[in-house]
Amino acid sequence: MIPFDFEYYRPDTIQEAVDTFRQLDLEGKSPVYYGGGTELISMARVGSRSFGSVVDIKNIPECRILGFDRDVLQLGSALTLSDITESDLFPLLTKTAGRIADHTMQCKITFGGNLASTIIYRETALPLLLTDARLTVAGENVLADTEISQVFRDRLTLQKGSFLVKASIGRRFLSAPYFHAKKTKNEKIDYPLLTAAGVKTDGTIRAAFSGLASYPFRDSNVETLLNDSNLDFSQRADKIVQALSGIILNDSYGSAEYRKFVLKNTVVNILETMKDQGPCTA
């Protein structure tokens, strides 16, 4: 049971959502945008989060979009993870979303909710970071379309009153060779000790990680090392571990030393898996 009251609003348009949020904020009703709600409900239940009103965006058509506009795949922020895995239009995202929580939870957790999560993993960010996705954000009188790097820096950084409407991914990335591995401490369904995702495009491997640091990331130095053909796979992995050692988590899920061990093996696996894969055919 949630131990406090709040008001529930379900707007039908983007403008209605933005206006409602602003009005509720003016009235001091501390609004939050609401997607799947799994994180908000579980945190509210234990008293670690409170709010005076929720603005549920699931009835906004633009937030439910799923399909192509010419050569761009559009994924609405209110799609559930199972909407994405069942459609299987973006195989790397299918793999990634299919390993978040469990299947039933994937029927409730939304794509945008995972990206905006306060929990550090935000694994759906990895495929988006790797494919130079563009994010459409609704705010005060504005519908802005920006590169993911502009609004996702470790986490989704939106201005108060703004919300994510959709992500757009170029078709050329969807068929690119990819890699995905999620390593957990013990059970298959758990937060990641390390999730690694990679794509090979134009003959170059890109890689992004979650669980390794306190935020998901893609790092240009790591990718330079990953693609350094003067080094063998093991040497590249060693240098990547060394380059990232300052940010690697050391917690109850795994010591920093163990994470380094897992990272090294995972990097070698990425390189082995992708060595024979040709460049993405754009």
Binding site: M1, I2, F4, D5, F6, E7, Y8, Y9, R10, P11, D12, E16, T20, G37, T38, I41, S42, A44, R45, V54, D56, K58, N59, S82, G98, A101, D102, H103, T104, M105, C107, K108, K188, I189
Partner: protein, 156 residues
Amino acid sequence: MYCLKGKSAIQLNINDEIHDVVIRPSDVLLHTLREQLGLTGAKPGCENGDCGACTVLVDGWPVKSCLMLTAEAIGKKIMTVEGLKSAPIQRAFIEKFAFQCGYCTSGFLMVCHALAAIHQNPPDAVIDEWLQSNICRCTSYEEIGTAIRAVLSGEM
């Protein structure tokens, strides 16, 4: 725009019947089902989305009712275990001895029922993936797997 402020009377479609209930916007579906409607098939377990004992179907898909606001269910078709009414998966659970204490059973039944409706011939990996959403402390997993496979194969 739909909005709900304070205690309000709403209608829910549950097991193909329209029910009138009075809810707070902060009520979760699990408690509305159990306390207002007497539909106690959905069980409170962890109430944190981990155990699956409270699973119901929302428009045919399994959802943990402890993590769904009742307000979100307005306009949706909700099915609880009380709505199964002698479905093949129920007979399979009995014939394959797929439960012991029974506390998790209604949640497993709902997941299995949805799986059989959505995927006619799923590979083992898909069956395992769906069943991993629920926990059985009596560890009847082998028999539960046998029961859903009996339904999927047409044995039931």
